[in-house]
Structures are given as C-alpha cells and as structure tokens.
Amino acid sequence: MKALILVGGFGTRLRPLTLSVPKPLVDFANKPMILHQIEALKAIGVTEVVLAINYQPEVMLNFLKDFEEKLGIRITCSQETEPLGTAGPLALARDKLADGSGEPFFVLNSDVISEYPLKEMIEFHKSHGGEASIMVTKVDEPSKYGVVVLEEATGQVERFVEKPKLFVGNKINAGIYLLNPSVLDRIELRPTSIEKEVFPKIAAEKMLYAMVLPGFWMDIGQPRDYITGLRLYLDSLRKKDASKLASGTHIVGNVLVHESAKIGEGCLIGPDVAIGPGCVVEAGVRLSRCTVMRGVRIKKHACISSSIIGWHSTVGQWARVENMTILGEDVHVCDEIYSNGGVVLPHKEIKSSILKPEIVM
C-alpha cells in the first residue's frame, strides 16, 4: 500500500526553528515531525511513502536514507518545481501512487499530529464503497477553518464551507485522506486545491465520505499549537503506553525524557514537557509545558515554561524563560536573564532581558 505526505513549503510559521531544518524534520516529542506519520503508516502495512516537497530536497533526502534502513519502508521524494497546492502534488506523484493494483492510497498533511487510526479508516473506506474517505475532527471554533458538512449516519459528505460566518457544522478537514486511484484522474498537474476543487466534485457525486477522528488532533505548524499539541500527544501516550513517560518524585504530569538526557538534583519537571537526546538539565531547574531539543543545556536554578528551546542552545543560571519564548538553534541565554516571549533567531547570545514579546534577529 502507498502513501503521500504533503510536506509543501518553507515552514515560515515555525521560524526560527525552520531556519535550521526543513519543517518535517523539526522534532516533536523527541522525534522528527514526519517520523510520527511514517511510523503510523508503516504500522498498517504501507510499503512506500512519497514525500511531496518543494524546499531543501537535499536535506530531506539525507534524512530519509537513515530512516529507510531503520524502518524498512521505502521513502521517495516528489519535488514540485512550482507550488502545486494541496492536490497538484498528487498528480505529480501519480506514477508512484497508482501502481495498477487498484488499492487506495493515503494522503497525509505533514503538519498534523493525531492518533492515526489508519486501520479503522481502511475498514470505513471498504464499508462505504465510495471513491474517497477523509478524516474530520470536531473543533470549538469551526469558522477558523473549512467546515465539512456531512450526513451523521453514513458520513456521506454533503459540502465544504470555507470559514462559514453562520454555524453549519463543527467538523473540519483533519488532513488525512484515503483515496481510490481513480481520484488521480480528476487532478490536473497544476496548482490545485483538494478542498476547493477536487473534493466538492466527488461529494456532488455522493462518493466522498467522512469519518470522525477519534482521539486528539492538532495542526502543529505554529509554535502555540505545537505546545498545545505536545500536551495532547503526551495525554494520549499516557493512555496507550505509560511506560514511555518519565516517573519519579521530580516528575509532575506527563513528561517525556530521552534516555540519553541527564536531569540533576532538586528539579521539578512537568507537566507536558519533552526533553530530547543529549540534554543536560542541571540541579534545581523547573520546566513546565515546554520542549527542550537535542543537545540543550539548562543551567542551575533556571525556570522555563510554555516555550521551545532549540537544538544546542543553553539557558543560563537563574534565567526565567516563559510565555511562548522560542529559541532557535544555538542560542545562549545568559545567567539571570528574563525572556517574556522572546523569539530568537539562531546563533545569538541574549545578554539582556526581553521584557515583552519581541523578535531578536
């Protein structure tokens, strides 16, 4: 079985992190974002994953070589020479996706994390016999997104409404599709939107069905949602496989600590924290609702909350870092500094406090 992951463009909303690596390789819960999806696909028997990309293919290809071997799944790239939107890339990768077997293929949006109930989706797709299945998720504020109006009993999609002003439904497109190869015949090789051009046609023919996604869903393409997404992910991990989470008197709530990370005495870590490979958390540190990426050193008595600390950065002694502070790669916050929402580009030293949210270039 095959799958396509829409990786797309520059990941500008996740800057400064994406100034160092392409977005799919930004770590989430101690794993590159895209690896979460590739592993879920492998688990249900997908043998080949095509990544639709248009930015930094060399970096992606290097990464993929490592993971192809480790995971035992074939990973290829389909490179857009111009941005093709959300449907165009399928046409571009046509030959890889339609292998003549008639099997449906998955399409995933790379910014999404969820529990990936892909096996259930395959069964749903078989049972309704339509041409395409999409996952939808319930949200509190549907008008921020495109709403999918569906018939509750069968899941048959009636129509899509982009950012509706009046309430039409509370289910939105979760960015996970299972499509029959015939869908490829509907897509031309040009910039095309799957939501605006392709799905409405299939829905009109009553061949598009939607399944409500069980479990959590988050688009982690920007820092605020990344932090919320980590909370949802760790919650889910607590239910599925609590042994993966850290425990101890210094741990509060759900905390993920890589085995190669070191945590000192007298720390209080959690809730909703991920600490990456090779990190050193010195004594007396308080961490909550934050991600600490590979190779970071947090010095003694520091306090970090609701922030993301990029690869190989350091946070000084008694520093206080909070309120959506995002440190890029190799950023060094000096001792006793306060950062309130500082967004710091790579290779910087912070020698004076950032009192209100500010971008430091």
């Binding site: 520059f10 500008t12 800057r15 400064p16 967004v343 290779h347 910087k348 971008i359 270039m361």
Partner: protein, 416 residues
C-alpha cells in the same frame, strides 16, 4: 632609495565571516555581506577598485571566514574584469585583526612588497590610497592609519585617536572609550611596511612569555587583561596601535571625504547612496539618465543594470539602485531604495527607503516604505528573498524574512 617602479604593493582586505555578526540579517541569509551590492557593485568591489589605483599593485588578498566556494566565482570574475590578481584566503580559526594578517604573511610577502595595505571590507569611503601611500613614505614610519573627524557624540563607537598636528604622528589610541578622548577616529584603512609582522610576532611572544610565568598569584592573574587570549590572537587596535602610539612608528592621514561603517542593511542603503554620489564624479557614465519620454524619468543618482527593464512612465530616484533582470512596471515610483535581482514591481507601486530582496514581487498600487532612519532597527524596510507583497498592500517600517507573502498591511513589524 630604490626607484618607485621597483617597489611592489600588496593589498589585504578583511571580509569577515558568517558567524562574526548577525547584524546583517535578513540579507545575510542569502548572500555573504561582502558580496551584497552597493550602487550596483558587490560591497568588496569598491575597496578592490580603489586598490587598483595604487601604483605597482601586485596582488590583492581577501581574508575571511567564509567558505572558499562562496567567493570563488566573484574572485575569478573580478580578477578578469579589473586585470589584477585577487585571491580569497580562508582563515581556519580566529586570530584577531592583526593575527589574521600575520597568519598569511608568507603569501603576502611572496611578491616582496615594500608596502602592505590593510582594509576592512565593511568600510564605505573614498579610499584615497595613492595619497595615503605617498604620505606614509614621507612620514617614514611602520604604519599609517586613515582617520576622519566625526561628531563628538558618535566618536566612542570607534577607535578614538590623537595625532600630532604638525608631524601627524599617532600619539594616543583608545578603542571605544567610555569617556571622550578625541573626535578623530580610526577608519579601518591602513598601510604598513613589512616590519609590522615583526611587531605582531612581538605581541605573540610577549604573551607566551607572560603565560609561562609561574609565580603569578591568583589575584594578579585576575588583573592581567589578556590572560584568556591565546598567544596567536593579536588585535590590531589594542595590541599594536595602542601600545605603539607615541613611539614615532605610527602616523595618521586624514580624509575629508565621506566615511561610514556598513554594519546593518539600513546602513548599506545609506552607503549605496554615497557610492552613487561618488560615481557622479568619477564615472558618471555608469549612472542612468532619462526624461520620461523614451525612458523612465530619472532624478538624482540612479544605477540601473543593463538587463533590467524599467517602464518609461516610472519615476526613479534619487538614490536608487536596480539590479539585474528586475522589471519595473508602469507608473512606479522608487525613492532611496535598492532593488535586487529578478524583482518584479507592478504598476503604480511605490517604494521609499527600502531594500527589496531577490525575486520578490511588489503588487499593483502597493506601498513599501520606511522613515529612512539608517540607524534605527526598523528605519529602512527590508524584504528578504522571494517576498510577495500583494496588490494595494502597505508595508511600513518592517522587516520581512524570505519566502513570505503579505496580503495584509503591516507597520513596525518583523515578519518571520
């Protein structure tokens, strides 16, 4: 004295490196600062052209921390264009501003030069090098420093110095002093005789000896200012100029022309204007002309690359530089800006006090502008590579990183 036709001169231009400063962001994401165009030519082209005017110039070396491949094309092309050997040398580790020169002394001395010019690439000035060399020969010292008088309030950002008004000898030199010393500052352009290498080596040796002293108490160790610097790290200002001031070895030559340091994108716009003004005197044929009939209306100093297309109904200038393959549409107004390669500016758009990055697109009736304060963080609007400003959008006093599309107006913002 040997006839001057026998005396060769070598010039060394320090170009810095990518980690040496982040102040040139966001433009430095796409190009090494020394290659950023000012008045249509890469920044380092200006001092290199100036060096060409030195009689008996044998060789120009560019020394920096960038990868060799980043300078390969440029060096080959400019050697060809100016018919002078230019070579890029990569420093493997920081040696300080004088240590870098010392590190490559064998190559520099290969042509047995009688004099060596040392220039900083991020200095914008008229580079009066032949006059400086003549003055240096008259003084007969080891080195001559180019100096300029600045408003007293700004002097402490630089190296302040005091010179003898009659002999021009350097009497005193202090780097970035806290209190006022002098309103004359070091321009970052020097000429030396080869004994400068001995002076630099002297500093290294002295430091090594001090490091070997066994009976230094821990209190004394705290007082030694250079205790943490490796022996081969020699700074020109603190280790050579300051100690040798007043010893009849160093002299000064004053320039009455313009001088600026190009540290930020905002300053690069200012310096581009200074060089355009200089072209008005030295090579007016480089500047564009036009009266709005067959070609666009040009006012003030404007450079337009031959491959750029500008609609005749556009009005360009003053102080505008347009790079290769740019397309300027009908009714566009450009004032005090740098338009980089492959930019498309659509009809009736306005750009004032801005730098528009490579391949960007400025939509119809949109407005990209800033207050024009070169020293303020958001005083000049900077659009990075491949930024799209949609029709009728206004962008004021902002910095936009590469690959963004603006479909809503913004003011006073940095957009990542």
């Amino acid at each position: 004295m040997m006839g001057s036709s026998e005396e060769k001169v070598v010039a060394v231009i320090m170009v810095g490196g990518p980690t040496k400063g982040t102040r040139f962001r966001p433009l430095s994401f796409n190009i090494p600062k020394p290659l950023f165009p000012l008045a249509g030519q890469p920044m380092v082209h200006h001092p290199i052209s100036a060096c060409k005017r030195i009689p008996n110039l044998a060789q120009i070396y560019l020394i920096g921390f960038y990868e060799e491949r980043e300078f390969a094309l440029f060096v080959s092309s400019i050697s060809n264009e100016l018919k002078v050997p230019v070579r890029y040398l990569k420093e493997e580790k920081p040696h300080g501003s004088a240590g870098g020169l010392y590190n490559f002394r064998d190559l520099i001395m290969e042509d047995s030069p009688s004099h060596i010019f040392l220039l900083n690439c991020d200095v914008c000035c008229s580079f009066p090098l032949p006059d400086m060399l003549e003055a240096h020969r008259r003084y007969g010292g080891m080195g001559t420093i180019l100096v300029i008088k600045v408003p007293p309030e700004s002097a402490n950002q630089f190296g302040e110095l005091v010179a003898d008004p009659v002999t021009n000898e350097l009497l005193h030199y202090t780097e970035k002093p806290e209190t006022f010393v002098s309103d004359h500052i070091n321009c970052g352009v020097y000429v030396f005789t080869p004994d400068v290498f001995a002076a630099i080596q002297g500093v290294s040796t002295q430091r090594k000896d001090r490091a070997n002293l066994r009976r230094v108490s821990s209190f004394e160790a705290l007082q030694l200012p250079n205790r943490s610097l490796p022996a081969d790290f020699v700074r020109l200002d603190q280790d050579i100029l300051s100690p040798l001031a007043g010893k009849k070895q160093l002299y000064t030559y004053e320039t009455m022309d313009f001088w600026e340091q190009i540290k930020t994108p905002g300053m690069s716009l200012r310096c581009s204007a200074l060089y355009l003004a200089q072209f008005r005197f030295t090579s007016p044929h480089i500047l564009a002309t036009g009266d709005g009939i067959k070609s666009a209306t040009i006012t003030g100093d404007v450079y337009i690359h031959p491959s750029a297309k500008v609609h005749p109904t556009a009005k360009i200038g003053p102080n505008v530089s347009i790079s290769a393959n740019a397309r300027i549409g009908a009714g566009v107004r450009l004032v005090n800006c740098i338009i980089l390669d492959d930019v498309e500016i659509k009809e009736n758009a306005v750009v004032i006090h801005a730098i528009v990055g490579w391949k960007s697109m400025i939509g119809r009736w949109s407005r990209v502008q800033a207050e024009g304060d070169y020293n303020a963080k958001l005083g000049v609007t900077i659009l990075g590579e491949s930024v799209s400003v949609e029709d009728e959008v206004v962008v004021i006093n902002s910095i936009v990183l590469p690959n963004k599309t603006l479909n809503l107006s913004v003011q006073e913002e940095i957009i990542l």
